[in-house]
């Protein structure tokens, strides 16, 4: 059954086609658009889960399907589904464009799915661009002020520049190894990393993913895009696309057994700078989404910490952390899009009195923020500790120390939001009403954040098995 190997991708391609047809209608019905998209996305989760244990190679071995890629495909499909769950109210996007909105989210997910399976450099590049171009369109789709245009242009420029970096790096690698297959390239890496061309080629190639992850120095787009794009688009960028970037980064790094000191040293610096810069700048933010953008830069640093250990435990921790980050970040964005139901940007002070305006959302927000800050018993705490543990095992004492100090700094600005939600009265602000689906979603997220924080073993084991497959 070769088709099943490509099952999730085919499914999402079909979904994109259906949405494309929907977008051609003259008479717009936004309810139907949403229901179709949501229904298909739910089916996508089922299909991706059904293909979880597929194994094999496709397209002249340019495309590898293994547990690692399939786990991430389930996560991506789930991410898309969750984002569509909170898209029932797209107040800030013109009614005519709703179908397009769903369409491009789907093509982006498709690109990301191909990305996590691609093991050939050009395939990786093409998949990456498929997902990026979709986002280039989605970001300026928002109606209203000029902020969306600025965000769109910025995203496009920085994305294009990092694509250039990446292509440049790829050309170095291709020139030095005469192959575009990742496993062949990596076989030649040990001698190559001794020379500048190898290191430069590799780091420049990774630039494309650093851009997605918003690692320093490719982070400049994050605050403006987070703030300028529609809340739901930001949610997608902040969760789904980050998880995919972690997957590819892991796959590229994991295939090379010996990278040498220079390479890890470079990642070490990027990790520390990302964490510190993100956390320090986040402190002064007033806009909630902008604050989360800076915190995402910091979190990229934590993930990088797991990756740069180049060990099985480190990769396992990085995967766990990436998935955890997807969930806790999504929780915060869900609250944003529910509270700001007219699609405006949410200032932190507008969360005032959330504890009585909607106790459930208040609780979810608090847990999501505590998880981001790494407070137990939450998925974020366990993830952070696993990452730190693996880094310490490889002897990165100072890195862990800096990471731990950063955890303290980050707590400060997360607590400011908790302070607003639980302490400020916000008497004049209206109550927030949520539908049944959001209510169920909140309960589910709360359960997941605490449940997998307290019982992480199953997820960790799954991640470990997946990593073993990649390391071969």
């Amino acid at each position: 059954m070769k088709v099943l190997l490509f099952g999730p991708e085919l499914y999402f391609l079909g979904m994109a086609l259906v949405l494309f047809i929907l977008s051609l209608r003259r008479q717009v019905n936004i309810r139907i658009d949403h229901q179709v998209a949501l229904g298909f996305a739910a089916g996508g989760v089922v299909v991706a889960s059904a293909c979880l244990f597929q194994q094999g190679e496709l397209f002249f071995a340019a495309y590898r399907v293994d547990l690692f890629s399939q786990i991430f495909k389930v996560a991506l499909a789930l991410g898309l589904f969750l984002v569509l769950m909170i898209s029932h109210n797209l107040a800030h996007i013109d009614d005519r464009y709703h179908a397009e909105f769903y369409l491009f989210l789907t093509t982006c997910t498709l690109g990301l799915m191909m990305l996590v399976s691609a093991v050939e450099l050009l395939t990786i590049y093409v998949s990456l661009e498929l997902s990026s171009y979709s986002l280039y369109i989605l970001v300026p789709l928002r109606r209203g002020d000029d902020m969306d245009i600025e965000a769109g242009v910025k995203y496009l420029f920085i994305g294009a520049v990092s694509s250039c970096f990446m292509l440049f790096g790829l050309s170095y690698i291709f020139g030095a190894t005469h192959s575009t297959y990742v496993n062949e390239v990596m076989a030649k890496m040990p001698e190559l990393v001794q020379s500048p061309i190898g290191i430069m080629g590799l780091l420049l190639t990774l630039a494309g993913f650093f851009f997605k992850l918003s690692v320093f120095p490719f982070h400049f787009w994050a605050p403006d895009v987070y703030q300028g794009a529609a809340n739901q688009v930001t949610t997608f960028i902040a969760t789904v696309s980050k998880a995919a970037a972690v997957a590819v980064l892991l796959r590229l790094v994991a295939l090379g057994e010996v990278y040498g000191f220079g390479f890890t040293q470079a990642l070490w610096i990027l990790s520390i700078v990302s964490m510190t810069l993100g956390n320090l700048v986040a402190i002064v933010q007033k806009d909630f989404k902008r604050m989360l953008a800076y915190s995402s830069i910091a979190h990229a640093g934590y993930v990088l910490m797991g990756i740069l250990t180049l060990s099985e435990a480190g990769y396992t921790a990085a995967i766990y952390y990436a998935v955890a980050y997807l969930i806790m970040n999504f929780t915060c964005f869900m609250v944003i899009s529910e509270v700001a139901n007219d699609g405006r940007n949410l200032q932190i002070v507008e969360l005032a009195g959330l504890y009585h305006r909607n106790p459930l959302l208040g609780l979810a927000l608090m847990l999501g923020l505590f998880a981001l800050a790494g407070v137990p018993p939450s998925i974020g705490f366990t993830g952070k500790l696993l990452v730190f543990t693996s880094a310490m095992k490889e002897g990165y004492f100072w890195l862990v120390l800096v990471g731990a100090v950063n955890g303290t700094i980050s707590l400060y600005y997360y607590l400011k939001v908790v302070y607003a939600a639980y302490f400020l009265e916000g008497k004049e602000l209206p109550a927030v009403h949520i539908g049944l689906s959001t209510r169920a979603l909140s309960y589910a997220l709360i359960l997941i954040i605490i449940g997998f924080g307290v019982f992480p073993d199953r997820v960790v084991e799954l991640a470990r098995v997946a990593v073993k497959g990649v390391l071969l």
Binding site: P376, P377, L385, K393, L401, G407, L415, V460, E461, R464
Partner: protein, 490 residues
């Protein structure tokens, strides 16, 4: 260390009692105040009952770890849910049980956001129980964090006097402490060569001297922040003053002990050589803390600040006892943790009652208060006598043991600390005299005295102080059964 597996999961039940209570409360309606209180009190009562059970049934002749439960948690990282009781943590579990039970009773009159208050308080106490019973470093740290974080919200919402500042200061200080603890713990884990966080197994590993020195100092300062080691104590008086009554009780009574317990159980237990290396510094900081706490306390006019600074000095006594590294010293230290916990809980409980009525804690405003509320004032006066180390109360024996060994091991620092304790007694008497035996303030003359039910928590605390003051061996024999092997292993 010998282990005796439990025939019934007593410790898990003790840990789950507040968790279950918390879950039930989450599903109750905000308006059902009485039900919420009853659920909290039942959860606290179950935990207290189980802690008394383990305290009484711990077999000192057998020794070692008893009531042990061990389950695998995260296999690939060697993390276990591993709990047990020995002579060191049995008194502290009992202390936690007493303080949470009396704490819930003390907050019986709370009207503002009752549901959330008790939910957070039970979350906090879960963390405290978890820390005291864990024998796995990872789980220990996990619960440690759980205990620390709810403080922020508890102080922020239900606190008083500069609460926003105090809550943030306290949280950041404590989290900065955690930021030191994580690298310390992970350093030990990574260099041990065995893939486990099990402290008993790690104790068997002989770590390289540099590892011990580095890890010890990280853990000492990390936990030391919570134990209010001078000069990292500044969050503590501010935090105590701002916190609502029961949170002050829990915080000064129990939470600060987590810090001292962490130094003892993790830092000293796993890095004996590191301890020898840093013991001089520990003793110095502890002695400075004792002297400093007493003298700054002398200048305070707010009753809660007075207690806050006396806590700094009493926690200094704990630190001094630990620093001696002798059987008597550590014995006294652990006993002091218990005694001070009960005593401060009584202090804060008494002050809280007075403050809820009069809305002031200023010594000069209250003047002559014992003529208005003789019973309520009586509780405070008893607590002050305990604080001064009067014989007949538990703290007397604890301080005696610590000072005997401190003067032997560190003569100068020991004597200085001892001298300041005498001054401390003076200062306790001064506060009592000014607050309770001056001319009564006519503003408060119409207040009724404390009713027997509302006085119950304080009566329990007084009874505990007196019981262990008259029969100290009930406690000391138990502690000694764990401290003797502990010191031999140093």
């Amino acid at each position: 260390m010998v282990e005796h597996v439990a025939d019934f999961p007593y410790l898990t039940c003790m840990l789950l009692a507040p968790v279950v209570g918390l879950t039930i409360i989450l599903f109750l309606k905000e308006e059902w105040h009485f039900l919420i209180r009853v659920v909290s009190l039942s959860a606290a009562a179950i935990a207290l009952g189980l802690s008394i059970y383990t305290f009484v049934n711990y077999d000192t002749a057998l020794g070692g770890l008893q009531f042990v439960e061990k389950y695998e948690w995260v296999k690939s990282f060697g993390i276990y849910f591993y709990v047990g009781v020995d002579g060191i943590n049995a008194p502290l579990l009992l202390l936690t049980g007493i303080v949470i039970f009396t704490g819930v009773l003390t907050m019986w009159e709370l009207e503002n956001r009752v549901k959330e208050y008790f939910a957070f308080m039970l979350a906090l106490v879960t963390g405290v129980f978890g820390v005291f019973m864990s024998m796995d470093m990872f789980v220990f740290f996990l619960f440690y964090e759980i205990a620390v974080v709810p403080m922020y919200i508890l102080i922020l919402i239900w606190g008083s006097t500069r609460k926003i500042y105090a809550a943030m200061k306290l949280t950041l200080y404590l989290m900065a402490g955690s930021g030191l603890i994580i690298p310390g713990i992970l350093l030990l884990y990574a260099t041990s060569g065995i893939n486990t966080f099990d402290m008993i197994q790690l104790h068997g590993v002989h770590f390289a001297p540099w590892v011990q020195k580095t890890a010890f100092v990280l853990l000492y300062f990390g936990f030391g922040v919570l134990a209010a080691v001078w000069p990292f104590h500044t969050w503590s008086p501010v935090g105590h003053v701002a916190a609502p009554t029961a949170v002050s009780m829990l915080h000064a009574g129990v939470l600060m002990k987590l810090g001292a317990y962490g130094i003892l159980r993790v830092a000293m237990f796993l890095c004996p050589d590191g301890f020898q290396y840093w013991a001089q510094l520990m003793a110095l900081l502890a002695a400075v803390g004792i002297v400093y706490g007493v003298f700054v306390g002398l200048a305070q006019t707010d009753l809660k600040y007075v207690i806050g600074y006396s806590s700094v000095s009493h926690m200094g006594i704990v630190g001094l006892g630990l620093a001696t590294g002798t059987i008597d010293g550590i014995n006294g230290s652990v006993f002091q943790m218990f005694a001070h916990g009960v005593m401060t809980a009584l202090f804060f409980s008494a002050v809280g009652y007075i403050y809820d009525r009069t809305h002031t804690r200023m010594i000069y405003e209250l003047g002559g208060f014992s003529k208005i509320m003789p019973v309520a004032s009586g509780y405070f006066i008893i607590a002050a006598l305990c604080g001064a180390g009067v014989p007949g109360f538990a703290s007397f024996w604890a301080e005696l043991l610590v000072f005997i060994s401190a003067v032997k091991v560190f003569p100068v620092r020991g004597l200085l600390a001892l001298a300041s304790i005498v001054i401390g007694a003076l200062f306790a008497l001064r506060v009592v005299q000014k607050t309770f035996y001056n001319e009564p303030n006519p503003k408060f003359i119409h207040y009724k005295d404390v009713s027997p039910f509302l006085g119950l928590p304080r009566a329990i605390l007084v009874a505990t102080m007196v019981l262990f003051g008259i029969f100290p061996r009930l406690m000391l024999d138990l502690i000694k059964s764990a401290v003797v092997p502990f010191v031999n292993g140093l």
